[in-house]
Symmetry: C2
């Protein structure tokens, strides 16, 4: 079979538990987390190539021009993006690359890289989402309302996704994502090479 890894995009409203699910997933050695490139200054303890690839604004803009980023965005005056080279390198090594990213970025990536699997991770229901956000002691009410508004916008894009995983119990959500990845690896579309081998074998 084709041993190239899959690009797995995990997205969904904040409060859906993406961080927890992703950190569980990558305990499995067949997964690798995508590393972003940023123009912001490295903070203490942050290592280039591990936490981020730290690059200058000029270089970043050149990568954008040359189409070398799967997606990018500006945030507080700094640029952040997903470099194609790193993702491609991991995929070639047979790793499934996980990209945890907000919805707009996820759709950008899918546009650029059609083979990516888009997974929408969601809490069991919307009231649950609010209560999860409220339980984060650090959030102000204003911030919660802002996040809820954003969640509404994001959920409207749900039909652009390939899969919906309901995160009720973390272990089950992780198990579901594993099943999706294993199932996708058996997809006929991903095995044009295998099909060709078969066809040569029977001619």
């Amino acid at each position: 079979m084709n041993n190239k890894g899959l690009l797995v995009i995990i997205s969904g409203p904040s409060g859906a538990g993406k961080g927890t699910v992703v950190s569980e997933l990558i305990k499995n050695k067949s997964y690798a987390l995508s590393t972003s490139i940023t123009t912001r200054q490295a903070r203490e303890g942050e290592i280039d190539g591990i936490h981020y690839f730290f690059r200058g604004t000029e270089e970043f803009k050149k990568m954008v021009e040359k189409n070398e980023l799967l997606e990018y965005a500006e945030f507080c005056g700094n640029y952040y993006g997903t470099p194609m080279f790193y993702v491609e390198e991991q995929l070639q090594q047979g790793k499934n690359v996980i990209l945890e990213i907000e919805v707009q970025g996820a759709l950008q990536v899918k546009e650029r890289y059609k083979e990516a699997i888009l997974i929408f991770l969601t809490p069991p229901n919307i009231s649950e989402l609010r209560s999860r956000l409220e339980n984060r002691a650090t959030e102000t009410l204003e911030k919660i309302n802002m996040r809820m508004k954003r969640a509404r916008e994001e959920i409207k894009l749900i039909d652009k996704y390939d899969y919906i995983v309901i995160n009720k119990i973390v272990e089950e959500a992780v198990d579901s994502i594993n099943k999706i990845v294993e199932s996708e690896k058996m997809s006929a579309q991903r095995h044009i090479d295998l099909i060709n081998t078969f066809l040569e074998g029977v001619e």
Copy 2:
């Protein structure tokens, strides 16, 4: 979530081990085997509605005209077909209906019922296929050559399938099919209703 079952079509060359895989699969109570309708005489011990639905040729032809069969074929002067009513009934009860069928029939069903999952079950390689057929003491060389020719024709249609499952070890093939079914149940396309509920919830 949507609790309707999925129609799972298992096809592939003879010698791929379809029968063994299917009989293992249906030990799981979430699966039901599709029952065919036929115009041939019931043999001793065959029960109407269990082994087949036995119907007259007139009635069968009417069902064809009314588009009530997912597929049908003639074999040795008798008609065989897959009645929609039975499949639909099982799906509504939440059962995943398995249809073990030859390739041409499988493609007919997919044409009629787009939501069906088409799984191509194949031996690990073509030489293996020949040796499996040769190990069936009952087969003449002529029959083996005929089956190999047919396998070649069938493999040429493999790109019409959704998934390819390589049947090296039966338990693993069964496990793979289970994963495909569970994964498909999380497909966003199958959850238009869930998406609508979400959207209503956030409006």
